[in-house]
Symmetry: C2
């Protein structure tokens, strides 16, 4: 697995390219670009990218002033993404009408958008960006901010993998209702997604998770099956009704643009999915969750997924801003740590993505497990007192509420 790594810290850009190891170097912006070698050039572009923060449209206006095509590509990379896309920008351009290209651009843009929004709230913290390749096909970009002022651990991961689906993996698909006809036991596939977990330090700022993914699989007769999955959900340590309503309302608005039936259906799916069965509790206060969605049409589902991905920053960032400077007691921090323990329980025992990743040879374990909190706690027989703030959130985790109608 090859890796290109950099650290993005305020105006100081640091990176180096190395095979299978991380090395962090501090350089002033621009200094890196003068170095030779494709790896380091790509990393330099990626490193500079996060500094732009001006997004796609500004780049388009600037592009007319750029002389060579290479400069143009570099500029685009720098401004739109955290690192060069796995499939390469030229290849994405060549097949720009194909849904998998549009989805790859969407997940790359979502990653950059979320990382920039988080970095803006935690200016002293470093976002490490690792690009990695998968031997069997494809690769990914992992962006992780750790032990900042505001965030304990924030990871935003993109992966675009392709190759042949094993019979085991295919069987998993089939059990979820997909009938797939393999040729010689092999199924060419392509899977891509953006996935993120944000664990803040302050117990009054909730943890947030989102994931949007697309899957394509080719059957023996050449027909392609495809489907989307995803969701965004919130895990507060303490209940704040105003935050809960804002979060759900923003998601509902994103859904309602497409079909009024979507929010209630996916809200319930979320409550059902994030259930820690052995505790009789949900992981958090929900949001939306869906999987295996392949109707009404590829274009319509893509537009819906795009709306959801665009809702991540507006549904979460205002909540972080509102509470990241709230004062808290050691007891509140302790309760947060116990809830972090439940988060670990859900992710390691039940989460399908995590389980699938851990059992799949060639997975990048560090990217899968970046969802785990920096710290967690388990106390034997911990039970909060009745009518406490701790009991209040437990009640909602045991009996999910409707936050918007």
């Amino acid at each position: 697995m090859a890796a290109a790594v950099r650290v993005f810290r305020e105006a100081t850009v640091a990176f180096t390219a190395a095979a299978g190891r991380r090395t962090l170097v501090s350089l002033p912006p621009g200094a890196a670009a003068g170095r030779g070698g494709r790896g380091s050039r790509r990393a330099a572009l990626a490193a500079a990218g996060a500094l732009g923060g001006l997004g796609l449209w500004l780049w388009r206006r600037q592009a007319v002033m750029v002389a060579s095509e290479e400069d143009e590509e570099e500029k685009e990379l720098r401004q739109r993404f955290m690192a060069p896309p796995v499939s390469g920008l030229q290849e994405l351009r060549r097949r720009r009408r194909e849904l998998r290209s549009r989805m790859e651009l969407l997940i790359m843009e979502t990653q950059a958008e979320v990382c920039r929004a988080l970095a803006a709230l935690d200016p002293g913290a470093a976002f490490a960006v690792d690009t990695w390749e998968r031997k069997e096909g494809g690769g990914g970009i992992s962006c992780v901010l750790q032990d900042g002022e505001v965030f304990e651990k924030a990871g935003v991961n993109v992966s675009v993998v392709f190759g042949q689906l094993s019979e085991d993996a295919a069987r998993q698909m089939r059990s979820r209702g997909k009938s797939l006809k393999a040729k010689d036991g092999k199924l060419p596939f392509c899977a891509m997604g953006v996935s993120s977990v944000i664990h803040p330090k302050n117990p009054h700022v909730p943890t947030m998770h989102f994931n949007y993914r697309y899957f394509e699989i080719e059957e023996a007769d050449g027909t392609k099956q495809w489907w989307f999955g995803g969701g965004t959900d919130l895990t507060p340590t303490y209940l704040n009704e105003e935050d809960a309503v804002h979060f759900h309302k923003t998601l509902k608005e994103a859904c309602d643009k497409h079909d009024l039936k979507l929010y209630p259906k996916y809200k319930k799916w979320c409550d059902d999915y994030f259930f820690i069965k052995h505790r009789g509790e949900r992981r958090g206060i929900g949001g939306i969750f869906f999987d295996d969605v392949d109707s009404p049409s590829k274009e319509e589902v893509f537009q819906f997924v795009k709306s959801c991905a665009k809702a991540v920053v507006p549904c979460y960032i205002p909540i972080v801003k509102r509470h990241c400077h709230d004062s808290f007691t050691p007891e509140e921090k302790l309760w947060q740590q116990l809830r972090r323990g439940r988060y670990v329980e859900f992710n390691l025992v039940y989460d399908r993505g995590t389980k699938f990743g851990l059992l799949t040879p060639g997975s990048r374990i560090e990217s899968i497990l970046m969802s785990l909190p920096l710290t967690a706690r388990w106390e034997y027989m911990h039970t909060p007192p009745e009518s406490s703030k701790e009991a209040e959130i437990l009640e909602v985790l045991r009996n999910p509420k409707d936050w918007v109608r």
Copy 2:
């Protein structure tokens, strides 16, 4: 689930009996015994039990001086066990020649022996003792010391459960090579064991786990299948060769008394079982592990298991004594916390007992998950420097060593 609870802290005994809730009350020794009600009397006996600390043989000598049979029973309970046995002492006496009675006494004695040895090293800490009943049949006794001076979390759990094995559970058995013929899809079974995880505070004191269990299952034609399983293993944060050799040597001596082939076989089984596949590391430096053992004879396997159970205190307690006052740095504590994270990963993702427990309705979750550490940590892409003490233990976890020959 009914629960009788007490706290054992030096000469102060605290307990109360309540259904499904814990209430901790501090009473001088003896005060509790005057209260009425079977629940509180049983709990009082249990509470007093841990104070005796003199063991079985002293009780036998004293017994001749005891007038009524009830007093005698109370005395025995008090001195031998942490709480009254699940099957009741009279019942165990009535069928004292049966192996399941002898095994139940062994696991009860092991629990008390280990708890007393730990409590002696951490005199300021409280051992909470919960007795619980299983609706479907049987119950257990959980002893947990939490946030002491020496131990971060130490749990010693006994469970004795019986009833009908579901088809699902039976299928799990079958996949492990047991051919079982059910009558109307049901298999009467009895399972019992003692299970323990000790997480010390000082990073120079290793975590220790042991578990000894016995299983009986009745087939359609009335024949009984039975087998034993178990093991003891060590998880150090830092490698100390002297400790590793002492631990393995003590276990090897216990095995060698029965058959010279056992230690090498079960040492390898341990290294294979405690493998965190997605990390390419073992959980610790091993020990012994075995499962589904049903030869050469029930009596011989029981005697072997007894030797192993009796080896727990001598293989571990000297290591705790040697290092519990060692000085350590914040960096060493941090490395311990990262290794605790790996412990959680193994237990929640791979451990068969934990997984089976979490998925079995009616399990006592708090007893199953008492194996998790009080605190744990996950850092993205943490890699210790080459030639560091942290890299030294990782090397041994990746490539298990032979500690004794």
